[in-house]
Symmetry: C2
Subunit: 121 residues, 2 copies
DNA sequence: TTGACATATGTCGAATATGACATAAAGTTG
DNA sequence: CAACTTTATGTCATATTCGACATATGTCAA
């Protein structure tokens, strides 16, 4: 796109960006959900590894059995923060948590993200 | 500790665990704070890298300039979730986020974490 | 079967995080 | 300096997340 046209569009209240930029919000949401699921699985795995009940983990993090159950099923009412807090409380290191957060479990799916797009400011 | 004594203490309502287990809650809190600060710094760095204002980032994540300011100063009112969402919305990968979460910035401080402790159930 | 224990689900009032707004403070440019 | 832009801070009503509780479901041994 020519600079002159870009400027004209922007003056009219449009923002010129990539389609990727437009899609990133929903992508971000999906990634957040995936992260939570991965963290939830790790919470359950670590707890079982340590052979303790949800009740006991609940006491450890100052919560209740029902919330721990929700944690492990990645209920939509649980925060990233509580998931991570739980892992750390069970002795996980930052590195371990970072590894879970940063590792994509599912296989990559190609997406059209390079096309230009116009997005209303 | 002998198993018999352990059993007796537990019967009296005590839980036998390591001092580490006892300290892990506060340790977890500290780690969470450190993570947030690291993420906050990255938000600011990425935003400046992209040469966009807080106002513009706010639009990108569906929030307000004041909240972005709080994000970047790691205000206690901001969640891990919003921090990560912001990074992802700016195009950060899960791997990048994981790296920040998992990397300890400050130097390690030795702590006495091996001694046994009794913790009221 | 029954009973004991573990986990899952739904609901609730309380606590916390949210976007929005106003406005102060800091930084930039002329 | 003043005008302007950007960032920081305080407040508030609303939304989300919280621990707690009740209760359902599942598991397993007596």
């Amino acid at each position: 796109m020519k600079a002159s046209k870009k400027k004209k569009l922007e003056a009219a209240g449009w923002k010129v960006g990539s389609a990727a930029e437009f899609l990133e919000l929903s992508d971000a949401e999906e990634m957040l959900v995936n992260m939570k699921v991965a963290l939830a699985k790790k919470v359950k795995a670590m707890r079982q590894e340590k052979k303790i009940t949800q009740q006991r983990l609940a006491k450890l993090i100052g919560s209740s059995q029902s919330r721990v159950a929700k944690l492990e099923t990645a209920d939509r009412s649980v925060s990233m923060e509580l998931l991570i807090r739980s892992l750390l409380s069970m002795g996980a290191t930052r590195a371990q948590v970072g590894s879970i957060v940063g590792t994509r479990k599912t296989k990559r799916v190609a997406k059209a993200k390079k096309k230009k797009a116009l997005v209303k400011r």
